[in-house]
Amino acid sequence: MNSARRYGRRRSAFLFVLMATMLLWLGGQLADVQVVHARSILAGSGADQAVKVIPATRGSIYDRNFKLLAVSVRRYMVISDNLRRTRLASQAASLLSPLLGKSPAQLRVLLSENAGYVVLKRMLNRAQANAVRSEVFGHLNVLSRVTVAPEPLRVLPNGNLAAPVIGTVRMDSAGSLVGTSGLEYEFQKLLAGRPGKELPIGPSGAANFFGTPQVIRPAVPGDGLVLTIDNSLQFEVEHQLALEIAKSGAVSGTAAIMDTRTGAILALANLARSANGMVVEAPSNLGLTAVYEPGSVFKIVTFSAALQNHIITPQTTFTVPDHVVIDGALFHDAEVHPTQQMTARHIIAVSSNVGTIHIAQLVGKTLISRYINAFGFGKLTGIGFPGESPGILVPPNRWSPTAIGSTPIGQDDAVTPVQMLAAMNAVANGGVLVPPRLVRATVGPKGTIHPYPLPPARRIISASTASELNGMLQKVVQYGTGVHAVIPGYKVAGKTGTAQIPIHGAHGYQPGAFMATFAGFAPANSPALTAIVVLNRPHDIYGGAVSAPVFSNIMQYALHLFRVAPSGAGAPPPRRSRIIQAIPPGVATTTRLAATVSATGRVNSGHP
């Protein structure tokens, strides 16, 4: 018995020692893996295992009311690895043909390509992708080389609305969307998010316990971008501009509306005539990237300088002939008239070039140049748009002898439409220049809204000067060159511009080619909105004839949309029913209905 006991004890002791040894060995191995060789193992882990990138979902772009302008959705593509099996191409083609909407012959060709990555079909929706997957699982012997992979698609629910502003994207080699133009490009880093990493399932992969891919680092979706653009206003502005381009035979056009106080661009339309004569979205954001000589609308700078420096008052009278010669160059008014007495107010109302040149000669080129700079011309607006042009300014020391005649009437310096809009907005805003902006806020992946910082505003003319100029610009609409900009019920101030287009790369101007502009604001007694309309080479060349009616239509819509109260008594009756006249038969009813329905059916945040 004793020996049996002794044997039992020995056995227990042996087991104890064995287990202890095993535990010690395990502990040692753990320490070896986790501590001693941790770095080398970690470094080597990526070398022999292909880490798969998980594309991050690109952030959406919204309008100012959080209506989607651009969103990324998942689509699927069907890929074949032809290097794995090529014998059953015909059978595979027959099976996939009804699901992919391609003929068996087409698929047979694709399936016979000697490549390891042949895309059979792209942009399938989830149901179609599931159908293909089911077919693959059902016929693994034939379709084992066929896989379904996700791919992102950027969807613009509004079609091409504001497309030059939003921009474009492309898919990179990792399957992520990359912005290539517009705000998509400018805010690429913000919208893109951070791609994740995972180890794919497979012989060399490290699928986790449940057979799903092992996520090393989850993908972080990109932030959303909230623009200042208003969806329905943008639609109306583009529609009105398109109608006028079609009607006036213009080559292209730009129209923009800005919130007077904040500088928020509420609509920015860029349209051009295509090769087949259709009016389509312009290939680029002309409002910010294209420069033009603005013409008479630029006179607000000359008058601001003169008023601010007390060189003139609105009542100052000048003797104005219909033409003047400066250093051999002839400058004349648009209409022939006898030499007459004109007040400064009347000079700007009828857009007298000769009168303006007289005032400019009193102001002097140094002061005019200083005010051109103060109004923000020759510099980027700070809106943050890729490819924005600062404009082209001639410094005063390089002014030609005739520049004192041409620059004050807007025929020397080149500006962008948005620069011109911001300058007009400064007059509306009591002399404070507010930089324009297109981005209202960003939205984090969890929905947190971060307001985008407002750019700093600066005073460029005094409030009294702005007020005087405001009154003078009202006369432009009341009886001057801008009568077609009138809006029933509202006081409107603005300025027309009809400018010659310089010859590219040469001296002089293109004969018969003009840029027609109208820039203004309403209600003039309490400005809320500022707008500009620029038409490139319209048949009827005058800004007051082609651009002012568009201004009236879009401004009227915007005032109603943002529920801006009418100006009260004193508003003249409508001169003509431009809205109905401007719209071709069959389009008129539905177009205006868009305004009515969306104005009543939407929830506005009130004043822009």
Binding site: R9, S12, A13, L15, F16, M19, K67, L68, V71, V73, R74, R126, V155, P157, N158, G159, L161, N208, F209, F210, T212, N231, S232, F235, E236, P488, G489, Q556, H560, P566, P574, S577, I579, I580, A588, T589, T590, T591, R592, L593, A594, A595, T596, V597, S598, G601
Partner: protein, 163 residues
Amino acid sequence: MAPQTASSTRTRGTHSLATASLAPRARSLPLEHPSGAPRRPLRAVSNEELALRLRRRRARAMIIMSTLFLITVVTATVILHVFLDRGQLRLDQIKARVSTEVRTTRSLETQVANLETPARVVQRAGQLGMVAPHSVTYLKAPKGGVARSGVGRGARGTQAPGA
């Protein structure tokens, strides 16, 4: 130390340590076991042997306890892993569901955005036979404010002035 241990054990009244008290007991034992099996030969046990037995018993107890502890630890680890894996499975399922729901939400948002587009609203309104107003008429409130209607006053049971 050993005698002290033996002594202290004795004082607790254990049955095998006091050799002095063993002799009378041995005498009283029967020569044969009741079952007929031969009795174990009796002999005097020295303190050293008792101490040795005690040490062995303690060692055995230690081994048993260690084994039990090890088994318990292993079992607990297995149970913990089972719970962890079940949790992970559930987490994976929830994640997959969240992912599906996010995709569905995004798809529905896109559908809503498509339905809300101004172009579609215009088209639909046209189909419904809606027409646009030719002009906008503004109503002007009187300077004295809007007078209350007589029906309203009557309903509240008040009398008009001078009535």
